[in-house]
């Protein structure tokens, strides 16, 4: 399965950000800033987090605000594989609308996003 570790990493990160926002009753933007602030500066962990937040933040905010879960979001930003030959792996229960339909909806939300076009390069 291609990009398996990116997929696992993405699902974990998005889940943590969603849960941080939920726990602190914050916006997604604030949750991302909080998470990066928790990381130590050693080995440039904090700055790497800030760069990733800058990069994926705007899209993530849009998607989380639409109540989409981490599985759908990570497929939508192509950090989990959308290859039709491979299975659509998910850790959360499938959304009521179905996984594929939800991913399509998420991709529609992101249709103007530059990050979507550049994810493969990244």
């Amino acid at each position: 399965v291609s990009n398996r570790y990116t997929c696992i990493g993405c699902v974990l990160m998005v889940t943590i950000i969603e849960q941080l926002a939920q726990v602190h009753n914050n916006s997604v933007q604030e949750a991302m800033t909080t998470l990066c602030g928790y990381l130590p500066e050693e080995a440039r962990l904090r700055s790497t987090c800030i760069v990733l937040a800058e990069l994926f933040g705007p899209d993530l905010i849009k998607l989380i605000n639409h109540k989409l879960n981490a599985d759908v979001i990570c497929h939508a930003v192509q950090l989990c594989s959308n290859d039709p030959v491979q299975p659509f792996c998910h850790v959360f229960q499938k959304p009521k609308a179905g996984l594929k339909r939800s991913i399509k909806y998420a991709q529609w939300i992101l249709k103007e996003s530059s990050i979507m076009r550049n994810t493969e390069f990244l």
Binding site: V1, R4, I8, T15, Q19, L35, Y38, C89, V91
Partner: protein, 417 residues
């Protein structure tokens, strides 16, 4: 992965990324012992007491009874002003002093991802303060492990280890430990191990634990059974390693073969429990997590972390066959420089003991990966192994040093581990 590749291309860090080497990265005198904690330093093997001279290192027989310098780094040196006898001779001569080493996998290295890293509810700046050390220790915590742990636990539970017991038994063994375990290692990887540092002429004997407890049956392939080690391969792998050890270990050493783990317990105990990322909203169980990992072909143990009961039973059957190979080797094979003993069913007994204490077996498994024995299981396991070996073969760990109290009175903490 790009970031990691970049780090690995740095000349100084290249060794860290080479899968076969478990030698310290920062080791000025190149004696395989270091004054730096992580990057395979003294979290993994006894701290060097002089990193500019390769004739000082833990585990060696003392040079001139360490009259003027502590050549074996055990913190005992100098002489008694009353009778002029060197302390090392007075306190350690004839006390069966020896070291402990472990050749093993992630369980022996004590793989651990703190659940706080994934749990939003209690997250704070403090939560990730140990992340850099964890990265530079390959997400292992050998300094807290079952075989070579010595630091007070900062990750729950308590620390108990074979090294601490061996040290308590005889303070001359201070700092004589080597944890050569590596994540993902199986009997096949151990055939080529080249990280053990022991000189047959100059160094003390050692007790070596051979503890690869899962990776011979655990893999992430969908057709997992096809990729498991067969009993025939197992015998060949273990014998190759033991023959190699016979060329490295000083006479009078011992090798302890540890049986494979009771992986079937994982599913039974965890499948319907919530994983740390699912605890807030009660929406991710271990069953779901294992399924997700299997779907991505990244399940670390497809055979045991699987809802298919038949597959779990077949994995257990193979694990038992491989443990039987270890048992048979211990009974039938002879080596020049060490004898071999076998210890079986450690984790079954750890779980049984915990249950007897009225505790929940969930407390014994690493919550993030749902796979490894955790700090409590490691501490209980160390205690169990120690007692069993002492009962079965008291000569393996050597007798109690009657001078321990005097050593403490004169040398205090012997300079730390």
């Amino acid at each position: 992965s790009l970031y990691l590749r970049k780090i690995c291309n740095q000349p100084l860090l290249k060794g860290l990324c080479e899968t076969k080497s478990s030698l310290p990265m920062l080791d000025i005198d190149q004696d395989n012992f270091s004054v730096f904690p992580s990057l395979r330093g003294y979290h993994w093997r006894g701290r060097d007491c002089n990193d500019t001279d390769n004739s000082f290192y833990p585990g060696r027989r003392p040079e001139d009874w360490d009259l003027i310098r502590d050549s074996n780094c055990n913190g005992i040196w100098g002489f008694d002003p009353e009778d002029k006898i060197p302390y090392e001779k007075k306190f350690c001569d004839g006390t069966d002093s020896r070291g402990i080493m472990v050749l093993g996998d992630s369980a022996a290295a004590h793989f651990h991802i703190p659940p706080e890293w994934l749990t939003a509810i209690n997250m704070s700046e403090q939560t990730f303060s140990n992340l850099p050390v964890a990265i530079s220790n390959e997400f292992d915590w050998p300094q807290l492990s079952m075989y070579t742990g010595y630091q007070n636990s900062t990750i729950g539970g308590w620390t108990e280890s074979i090294y601490l017991q061996l040290r308590k038994n005889n303070l001359c063994n201070h700092r004589d430990y080597q944890n050569l375990a590596k994540n993902g290692y199986s009997s096949d990887n151990l055939r080529n191990t080249n990280s053990l540092s022991r000189d047959q002429e100059l160094d003390k004997p050692a007790v070596v634990f051979y503890a690869v407890i899962g990776n011979d049956v655990c893999n992430s392939h969908a057709d997992t059974l096809k990729h498991m080690t067969t009993p025939k391969q197992m015998k060949l792998n273990v014998m190759t390693t033991l023959e190699h050890l016979d060329t490295l270990l000083p006479k009078g050493s011992h090798v302890v073969l540890v049986a494979l783990a009771a992986g079937h317990l994982l599913w039974d105990i965890l499948h319907d429990k919530y994983h740390p990322i699912g605890q807030l909203n009660k929406d991710v169980t271990y069953n779901q997590l294992y399924g997700f990992l299997s779907c991505l072909e990244s399940n670390p143990c497809e055979g045991w972390m699987n809802k298919n009961e038949t597959l779990r039973n077949l994995t257990t059957e193979r694990a038992n066959q491989l443990s039987d190979v270890l048992k048979e080797i211990a009974v039938s094979q002879k080596f020049h420089n060490f004898d071999v003993i076998y210890i079986g069913r450690i984790y079954e007994r750890v779980f049984a003991k915990w249950r007897q204490m009225g505790k929940d077996p969930v407390d014994l498994i690493e919550p993030v990966d749902g796979f490894h024995p955790n700090q409590i299981a490691s501490a209980l396991g160390a205690d169990l192994i120690w007692k069993e070996v002492v009962n079965m073969r008291p000569e393996v760990f050597g007798k109690n040093n009657p001078y321990n109290e005097e050593i403490t009175a004169i040398f205090g903490d012997q300079g730390g581990h």
